[in-house]
């Protein structure tokens, strides 16, 4: 992996993307003993609006905590795609929710599409796990942390009752993405 790897999760406030970023940071920092920093920016809206969560992962201490050239980016809504799917490096990765994003951002990067929200709602029956589906997919597409670390980190965060659901969500996301590559 590169010295400094930058991932951006973007979508609507309330979709749990900040949590996705935190989980990834924990996987990298605690489980894989790398340096990691997660930061976010959000609007005045408690729900909705475009929000983003960025995770920097590096082998050496992280000074500047915000993205400089994004290695991989997720956009769960059109608004966030328009606002935040930029600064992606050549050959980088962009993952979009196929239902929500109709106008694809253009650029020299690989764009992948998955029905993330729908998967969460339909296949898993709970919209709130969409962020875990997305996380699984992003980890599959980037290998920034191992599949196992990602899963461990996810499960460490959720209450007993939701372990199974989240485990399923994570692998579903991971598998769907793998299938795209």
């Amino acid at each position: 992996m590169a010295e400094r790897y930058e991932i951006r999760f973007s979508g609507a406030g309330g979709q749990g993307l900040i949590t996705a970023g935190i989980i990834l940071a924990e996987a990298a920092a605690i489980l894989e003993k790398k340096h990691a920093a997660q930061s976010q920016s959000y609007g005045p809206e408690a729900r909705g609006g475009a929000s983003k969560s960025e995770v920097i992962i590096s082998d050496s201490p992280i000074d500047y905590p915000k993205a400089t050239i994004v290695d991989a980016c997720l956009a769960m809504t059109q608004e966030s795609a328009d606002k935040y799917a930029n600064g992606i490096k050549e050959g980088g990765v962009l993952l979009l929710d196929s239902d929500m994003v109709t106008r694809d951002p253009k650029g020299n990067f690989k764009t992948y599409k998955l029905p993330i929200m729908r998967t969460a709602r339909v296949d898993l029956g709970r919209e709130i796990v969409a962020n875990v589906v997305a996380l699984g997919a992003m980890i599959a597409l980037t290998n920034v942390v191992s599949r196992e670390s990602g899963e461990k980190a996810v499960l460490a965060k959720v209450p007993e009752a939701f372990v199974a659901l989240n485990k399923k969500a994570y692998s579903l996301g991971f598998e769907m993405a793998k299938a795209l590559i």
Binding site: A29, H35, S39, S41, I62, Y64
Partner: protein, 379 residues
């Protein structure tokens, strides 16, 4: 056995640092982006028998903190922009009544409601001048999650040691970002508690200078009884308008922070690659992180750049900056405001080197590129 490590937010680190320091009272009022400090305190304090109270507004929060401190508690409040402005009158009260307490200011965009969810560093001069009347100020500006923890502990120590309010200012970026922190073991960091009186209760004077510039402080509800007022007071704590007494008290209160000895004890800076530096970046808070990144990049390009990072912002590290000003060709000051601390740098360097500012108030962080660009301009 390895230390406990966790990936937490700056605001959480602040609250946990306060708990580590022995904080037993939090009086607050929610405001973005500082609210998480209160949220964590509301959960942690009762676990150890401490008290959390959400007051009706920031003024009441500050009042409750001073009241609790006088009753012997280590007291904390946390707020942002508008809340800091509202607290100004009572911050002055804490100064003149010499009441230890810690005020967290998680800086957002201003003025007024401004940009509540955006970062800023526009309150750094307010930290010194916000309240009316002459008073001394201690303000700390951590720039990482780990440092927010340790500086919050230091803030309590300084507050207790010098019997005064201490402010900790950090911007929304470090306040909300998460990175790994190693929790110090209990006892690992020094914890200072206020000196309490040893004299007989009958002889106790709350501003008794026979013990030096920082008089011992008893607690309400102890065996000591005393009077506290926001008026200019004599050593016995009662109001006076006697010129010589007022003068002595006011100057002593300033000395607590600005006497050569105390200022040196309070000062804390990080100097990174300064020894051979030809150009210096003066930066604090999250901006210092961009600055370090920039300095490293410039060093790669062969530019002899260094980073001076005040961790204690007030009292201002006058001597050190002056000395560096004579050493380097130029100093670049990036701030998420329209030029505040650069005025202090200008004052103390007295034109001995070129100065350049990188200012942003648009809610976006200052990136390393901007700093590098400015360095190249001024050199």
């Amino acid at each position: 056995m390895a230390k406990k490590v966790a990936v937490i937010q700056g605001n959480t680190a602040c609250a946990l640092g306060a708990m580590y320091a022995g904080c037993s009272f939090f009086g607050g009022y929610p405001i973005t982006p500082s609210t998480e400090v209160a949220e964590v305190m509301s959960e942690e304090l009762p676990k150890v028998g401490g008290k959390f109270i959400q007051m009706e507004d920031e003024i009441a929060a500050m009042a409750s903190v001073i009241g609790a401190s006088l009753a012997g508690a280590k007291a904390l409040t946390a707020t942002s922009g508008p809340g800091v402005s509202l607290k100004q009158e009572l911050i002055g009260y804490a100064c003149i009544a010499e009441t230890p307490c810690v005020i967290i200011n998680v800086m957002r965009g201003g003025p007024s409601t401004g940009m509540p969810t955006g970062p800023g560093q526009s309150d750094v001069q307010q930290a010194k001048w916000g309240t009316h009347g002459d008073h001394a100020t201690i303000a700390l500006v951590p720039s990482s999650i780990q440092e927010i923890f340790t500086e919050t502990v230091r803030a309590f120590n300084l507050a207790e040691k010098y019997r005064m309010p201490v402010q900790v200012l950090y911007d929304e970026i470090v306040g909300h970002m998460r990175e790994p922190i190693e929790f110090p073991e209990p006892g690992e960091l020094e914890i200072i508690n206020r000196t309490t009186p040893t004299v007989a209760p009958a002889d106790y004077k709350p501003y008794d200078t026979s013990f030096g510039d920082v008089p011992p402080l008893a607690a309400f509800g102890s065996e000591y009884r005393f009077h506290v007022t926001g008026l200019n007071k004599a050593q016995d704590g009662f109001p006076t308008t006697k010129a010589e007494l007022v003068d002595a008290e006011e100057r002593r209160q300033i000395r607590k922070v600005e006497s050569a000895e105390n200022a040196a004890a309070i000062e804390k800076n990080e100097e990174y690659l300064c020894n051979d530096a030809e150009v210096l970046v003066f930066a604090y808070g999250s901006t210092a992180r961009s600055a370090r990144y920039a300095v490293n990049e410039m060093r790669k390009e062969g530019i002899k750049a260094g980073l001076f990072r005040p961790i204690t912002l007030w009292p201002f590290p006058e001597k050190r900056v002056q000395a560096l000003g004579k050493q380097v060709k130029a100093i670049v000051v990036p701030e998420m405001n329209l030029g505040q601390m650069i005025l202090e740098v200008e004052r103390v360097t007295k034109g001995s080197c070129a100065l350049g500012g990188v200012f942003r108030v648009d809610g976006e962080p200052i990136n390393p590129g901007q700093i590098m660009k400015k360095v190249k301009e001024v050199m």
